[in-house]
């Protein structure tokens, strides 16, 4: 089985740094690159009747938007790099979902930016990078 590296990517500056680092790592070791984008989602939040009715439609829109605005540009950028690049787009708790992707794809290495898009909640509840550092099942690199 070929080696794989997964990188958490949310379109932020920190994520761009992480991606650059991961791409360099992949090139050097000949590993495949999995670009993972997680849409924050909990099945235990509370919704209004209207939100419930529209949820299925909204989800489709959100997935399309994420694919087009976040993943497509970087996939295109890496097209000519000679790397074997795949992507993963999921809903869920960001750190938990990245761990799940790492396990499912049998990756050897996880790369993540130190700061993503979130700001205030990060200061209160801890960052994605922080929780991954504690819970990741594979070696993890946190890129500043």
């Amino acid at each position: 089985m070929s080696k794989k590296i997964v990188v958490g990517y949310d379109g932020s500056e920190g994520a761009a740094n992480a991606l650059e680092f991961a791409a360099g790592l992949a090139k050097a070791s000949g590993a495949g690159l999995v670009i993972a984008h997680v849409l924050e989602w909990s099945p235990y939040t509370f919704l209004t009747p209207n939100e419930i009715e529209e949820r299925h439609a909204r989800r489709k829109e959100e997935l399309e938007r994420a694919d087009k605005a976040v993943l497509a540009p970087v996939l295109k950028k890496l097209e000519g790099s000679g790397l074997e690049v795949t992507s993963a787009l999921r809903y869920g708790h960001i750190a938990e979902t990245l761990i799940k992707i790492a396990e499912e794809e049998h990756v050897e290495h996880l790369v993540i930016g130190r700061t993503g898009h979130s700001s205030l909640s990060t200061r209160i509840f801890g960052s994605v990078a922080g929780s991954l550092a504690q819970a990741a099942p594979v070696p993890i690199t946190i890129v500043p």
């Binding site: 989602w41 235990y44 419930i52 949820r55």
Partner: protein
């Protein structure tokens, strides 16, 4: 919400001071017109069996719940653990993350049902029917779980899914599509009748009763002032949400309501534990009262009618509203939503309503004759005498504040929020019925929404008696039609249930967690 409450209080305080005399007459006028124009409908729905005082509609609901319980082999008890596993997401496909989960469908449906029925309705039941009403209420709640299971399964199975990804479901749809599938006539007629009653129910129990009791609770704390003032403020906020599309208010309410619910139950539990020595006595009163009435008006039958009525009004089992709320969940198996929905009457009635009743009984709000142990009736003989002579939400408030003085303020916020979230839910149910009748379209929807806001004002201004009568009548009228459809379609639910349960047993339906 904080800003709103503060503004509401400030506005009411200044208005109270200026125009009390004129205002009272407006309230009286609204009340008189309202009572006289809805009386016939109320007396039809609540007419008793000839020669008895037992309303046929109460029998209709209880017989249905009993039939569903037996027909599905006590599914509400057998499937209870599986229901909890479903809500926890044990059986949810991770690839469906981002869709409406079972938990979310249940939470939203609950915020529509957990409301004033649990706080004010129970007080009405215990105030008129005595502690014994609690027993019948819990029994009706347990049986009602089977009705809810039936209607919500059908709601998901026969919902409409549109090209843009939105879904519409509810009794209107299973009546039309389900009847067609079984080759029964008149499905469409039934659906239209249901939709009409659903609109009335939305305006009554889902709106006026809520506005009325919210006003009662606010004026109970800040002092008496005309109801139409509360009505106009409430109507303004409801208008901002359902017409103005101000989503933030609705989502804030939706997030705060569950916490208020938990706070309410925890406080009730604390009060009950503080009076731990009286728990045995309270249950004694409940069981004794259930079969003897302990002197309440109407005796045992009086207790039973009150218990059944308020349970049905609170958990809405058999009414059909929940089928609208639950139908948007993402599941390949409609029956799973049926399983999840049966938790609703349990949480609503068996847990929350019982808490309210126990607190009222345990804190000694009801006045009994010390020598005979029978409850004393008030001057008009219509209800049990209470310590402070109050009824409805004020009685619950008095019971809670006898233990914690500050709780009446928490209760005001809880009542206002519960009332508001119930109104938002019912405006949605009513709108679904409205668009089913008149078709979708911005201006048609606007007519209903404005009508809904007007009824908020009427509800707050009218006195409790006529409002509660009309609210009950409208909600129960929905059940008349809905239960006919449930009888006709229950073999379909049984087929779904048996197929699902056998696949669950064989391991074909797998746990993901």
């Amino acid at each position: 919400m904080k800003n709103f409450s503060a503004a509401a209080f400030a506005a009411t305080a200044s208005l109270c001071a200026s125009a009390p005399a004129m205002a009272q007459t407006i309230d009286e006028q609204v009340n008189a017109v309202f009572a006289s124009s809805t009386g016939w409908f109320v007396s039809f729905i609540f007419s008793p069996f000839p020669g008895t005082s037992f309303p046929w509609i109460v029998a209709w609901l209880v017989v249905a719940a009993t039939i569903f319980t037996l027909y599905f082999g006590f599914i509400q008890f057998k499937a209870f653990p599986h229901s909890i596993a479903l809500v926890r997401g044990d059986y949810s496909d991770p690839n469906d993350a981002g869709e409406v989960s079972h938990f979310q469908a249940l939470a939203t449906a609950l915020s529509g049902t957990v409301g004033l029925g649990n706080i004010a309705g129970v007080a009405v039941a215990v105030g008129i029917g005595g502690p014994g009403a609690t027993f019948w209420m819990v029994l009706a709640g347990l049986m009602g779980m089977a009705s809810k299971f039936t209607e919500c399964t059908l709601g998901v199975k026969y919902r409409n899914e549109y090209a843009d990804g939105t879904v519409s479901g509810g009794p209107m749809y299973y009546m039309t599509k389900g009847f067609e599938e079984r080759g029964f006539p008149a499905g469409k007629v039934l659906a239209v009748v249901f939709a009409v009653f659903c609109i009335l129910g939305a305006l009554g129990g889902g709106n006026m009763f809520q506005a009325n009791q919210a006003h009662a609770q606010i004026s109970n704390v800040v002092g008496d002032y005309p109801g139409w003032i509360t009505g106009i403020i409430f109507a303004g906020i409801v208008f901002a949400v359902i017409v103005g599309g101000l989503k933030s208010i609705a989502s804030v309410t939706e997030k705060v309501v569950p916490f208020m619910g938990v706070l309410y139950v925890v406080t009730a539990l604390v009060i009950i534990l503080m009076n731990a020595d009286k728990i045995g006595w309270a249950f004694g009163q409940i069981f004794e009262g259930a079969f003897s009435g302990l002197g309440v008006a109407g005796g045992m039958v009086g207790a039973l009618i009150q218990g059944f009525k308020r349970a049905a009004f609170s958990n809405e089992a058999g009414v059909g509203s929940a089928a609208i709320a639950h139908s948007a969940v993402r599941t390949k198996e409609p029956i799973t939503e049926g399983f999840v929905s049966l938790l609703e009457p349990f949480i609503d009635t068996v847990v929350i309503c019982t808490m309210t009743a126990l607190v009222i009984i345990i804190t000694g709000q009801l006045v009994a004759d010390p020598t005979t142990g029978l409850y004393l009736l008030n001057e008009s003989g219509s209800a049990i005498q209470t310590v402070e002579g109050n009824s409805g939400v004020a009685l619950t408030s008095a019971a809670f504040s006898s233990a914690f003085g500050w709780f009446q303020y928490v209760l005001v916020i809880a009542v206002v929020l519960f009332a508001f979230s119930t109104m938002i839910s019912w405006s949605y149910y009513g709108l679904k019925a409205w668009t089913f009748l008149f078709g979708e379209g911005k201006s048609k929807e606007l007519v209903f929404k404005i009508l809904f806001c007007i009824f908020v004002v009427i509800g707050a201004a009218a006195s409790l008696g006529p409002v509660i009568d009309f609210s009950d009548a409208a909600i129960f009228a929905m059940a008349v039609v809905n239960i006919i459809a449930l009888y006709a379609l229950m073999p379909i639910v049984k087929k779904e249930m048996n197929s699902y349960l056998s696949r669950l047993k064989s391991g074909e339906i797998k746990k993901f967690k």
